[in-house]
């Protein structure tokens, strides 16, 4: 059994909570005491139906205001897979939350109300999903019951969205007509839509192939921590020196010739250690410890790669940035802390090329700053080289966060598009 992480985008109006509620309920991940609490609260508020959004809206402020403020993580499992849902609010003022939820997602579900069709917010969700390179996208056309399960209506929406998605480089795109309220095509195929020949949503979630979404080609091992037991009792352990980290790309094997950055020196992997014994190969997302053949000065923030396949060692970086700070703005000359893989440096904003309208995709080149939830293309210079790939090639070596030196807050997320 493996794990599928998926993000859901949409507002309560689109039936998102109903859909999640149904997935959780049908997979027995909602328990009686949770359901009772929700029913009690719904009743107290005079709601006629059981408001399943109360399950995911965990904070007092959210329940009081009836809105989702933050990303909520929900869990369920079927015999085939474990699922982690990042349930993100759909409104534009919560763009940063959607970006956060999408950053780790293998798949995103965008909900569309069949009566309303492709709205501005659907386009925004699709854009953000593609910007974050979520490998699989599902367009769940919901409330099919309210359009008489019309195939024509579904096809109309599919065509409109496909035309838009072609501008986005959207990856794997799947359309599923559903009724979350009545359960059509959610867990099992609907008898109300015999014209639909695809799988139910849950069947798709259980079977979508994700193992090859990881980068298994470019060896990238950011050194996270150096393990030196300094044991006084064991001679073997006294000299032990291992480089611990989580594989970010490629497949590493004992005997492989590898290159260390920043030194540029080559050496050989003599062993890949884990608590449970040595392993014959390591790939993402495994956390392992490498032993190397030569005594090279290696520390946290360094990168192990292959001599003929190296990341860019760059101090000049172009990236799409999603700005997440409330008061502070991003503008040329801003100085920030940048955290990329296991390396932390300082960064200077050299240029803001444009600000993107996330609804129309219009590039505003006259923009002078990025405010909360705004996205733009930015050039940065860093105080030390970072070992980067394009975000499109590897999300782990192409993504970074920005931290404000004054407040220590996380103020931005970046996706590298070019580096020198």
């Amino acid at each position: 059994m493996d794990i599928l992480r998926f993000a859901t985008a949409g507002s309560v109006d689109d039936g998102k909570s109903t859909l999640i509620g149904r997935l959780l309920f049908d997979s027995k991940a909602i328990f009686e005491d949770q359901l009772e609490a929700v029913e009690r609260t719904s009743r107290d508020r005079g709601t006629e139906y059981t408001d399943l959004s109360l399950l995911t809206d965990g904070l007092r402020a959210e329940r009081e205001q009836g809105i989702t403020i933050d990303v909520a993580y929900r869990y369920f499992a079927t015999p085939k897979r474990k699922f982690i849902i990042a349930d993100t609010p759909g409104h534009i003022q919560y763009t940063r939350n959607m970006v956060t939820g999408a950053s780790t997602a293998d798949l995103a579900i965008i909900l569309i109300d069949a009566r309303k069709g492709v709205l501005e917010q659907s386009r925004r969700h699709a854009f953000l999903t593609t910007l974050l390179r979520v490998p699989h996208l599902v367009l769940a056309v919901n409330k099919m019951d309210l359009v008489d399960y019309s195939e024509a209506r579904f096809e109309e929406i599919r065509e409109e969205f496909t035309a838009f998605a072609s501008k986005l480089n959207a990856s794997d795109l799947t359309f599923i007509p559903i009724s979350a309220l009545h359960g059509d095509n959610v867990v099992s195929r609907s008898e109300n839509m015999p014209w639909y020949e695809g799988s139910s949503l849950l069947h798709h979630l259980e079977n979508v192939h994700i193992a090859s979404d990881r980068n298994l080609v470019d060896v990238r091992f950011p050194v996270q921590y150096v393990i030196r037991p300094h044991s006084a009792t064991s001679q073997e352990l006294h000299d032990y020196r291992g480089y611990a980290g989580q594989v970010a790309g490629g497949v590493l094997k004992p005997g492989d010739e590898v290159l260390h950055l920043p030194s540029g020196l080559t050496t050989t992997i003599t062993g890949i250690d884990t608590f449970d014994g040595p392993v014959e190969e390591a790939f993402a997302p495994m956390s392992v410890t490498l032993r190397l053949g030569d005594d090279i000065d290696i520390s946290r923030g360094d990168m192990i790669c292959r001599p003929n396949n190296q990341p860019q060692a760059a101090q000049e970086i172009d990236a799409m940035i999603c700005w997440m700070a409330d008061g502070l703005k991003l503008q040329p000359r801003s100085k920030l802390i940048i955290k990329h893989t296991t390396r932390t440096a300082r960064a200077l904003v050299r240029d803001l090329h444009y600000r993107l309208d996330v609804n129309t995709l219009h590039r505003d080149e006259s923009a002078t700053a990025l405010g909360l939830n705004e996205i733009g293309r930015v050039s940065l210079r860093t105080t030390q080289p970072l070992f980067v790939d394009d975000y499109a090639r590897n999300r782990l070596t192409g993504g970074f966060i920005l931290i404000d030196e004054a407040t220590n807050g996380t103020v931005g997320a970046g996706m590298i598009v070019d580096a020198r």
Partner: protein, 304 residues
């Protein structure tokens, strides 16, 4: 693990993520510590810590906030496990906080030291200058926890501000804090109760005996079975009886209920949990029943 198509099993993914989190803390903080209560989540967390730094020892101390109302079986287990690892254990005592006048003991039948723990915990964090504190909390436990970050910032009063949390993207964690502040770190955030049990089974990890079915003298209160003990104030209208029970969570004797169970092996426990229709905290924790936001309110004050 199927090597051919590079699929990774759910427990391996969760373990790799938790190891990454622990190494990140060890690399970036000066004085981390790991909260170890002897409960199943902290037992799993401790095993992950062993794995993260092997063959070196765990590079931080363990801490237990001891209410004085713990199950003796669990304290015995705690001390044995700590000795096996050769780890350093800091015990922060709620009794000492009461004796020092830092907190006032509740009185009456429902008196519990649950809430008092927060002061003891925060005092200990301050005294030892811990800047990162590992906790075993999981997001599937409770709805306020479902919203909490893996690296959860605490201000100098130890408070959590749920509306002002740092965004957390990819596997990049912001570890920046000022003096006096700290970060609570939850490496098991993405684990479910069943994941924890599957992991305990896979790893063959020992757990305290009270997790398995046994006969115990209990009494009923609020539809929960509480252990009859000198630390629990029982009324005359609360008669005791013998029952075959086990504990699904391990907290204070005053607020942790037992569940009727005949499960004597990990396999049987897993079957039982897979079939249950009640959450673990709903079934067994009086502390969470106070109100819909009971956990959120306590967390804001600095609770686990």
């Amino acid at each position: 693990m199927l090597q051919r198509d590079y699929t990774t099993s759910q427990l391996d993914v969760l373990e790799a993520e938790a190891i990454h989190i622990m190494r990140e803390v060890a690399a970036e903080f000066e004085r981390p510590c790991l909260l170890f209560s002897g409960g199943k989540d902290s037992i799993v967390m401790l095993r992950v810590a062993e794995k993260a730094f092997w063959p070196a020892p765990i590079p931080f101390p363990l801490m237990h906030v001891d209410t004085g109302h713990n199950f003796p079986e669990v304290i015995e287990f705690r001390d044995r496990r700590v000795a096996e690892l050769g780890a350093r254990l800091v015990v922060a005592s709620v009794q000492a906080s009461i004796d020092a006048g830092r907190v006032v003991e509740q009185t009456g039948r429902r008196a519990s030291r649950n809430r008092l723990q927060t002061t003891t915990l925060l005092d200990a964090i301050e005294e030892h200058e811990f800047d990162a504190v590992f906790g075993g909390a999981r997001r599937d436990e409770e709805k306020a926890r479902a919203k909490e970050r893996v690296f959860s910032f605490r201000d100098e009063f130890g408070q959590w501000d749920p509306k002002n949390q740092r965004p957390e993207l990819w596997n990049l964690y912001n570890t920046k804090i000022s003096r006096g502040e700290h970060i609570r770190v939850f490496p098991l955030s993405n684990w479910t109760e069943l994941d924890v049990w599957h992991y305990i089974r896979r790893e063959g990890i020992e757990i305290p005996s009270i997790y398995f079915s046994h006969t115990r003298t209990v009494f009923e209160r609020d539809a929960m079975l509480l252990a009859d003990s000198e630390v629990v104030q029982r009324g005359d209208d609360e008669p005791t009886f013998e029952a075959v029970v086990r504990y699904r969570t391990v907290g204070d004797m005053t607020c942790t209920g037992a569940v009727a169970s005949t499960a004597t092996t990990i396999d049987q426990i897993i079957d039982e949990i897979a079939a249950t229709r009640i959450t673990e905290r709903g079934a067994t924790r009086a502390d969470d029943r106070a109100s819909e936001a009971a956990m959120e309110d306590r967390k804001k004050e600095g609770y686990f």
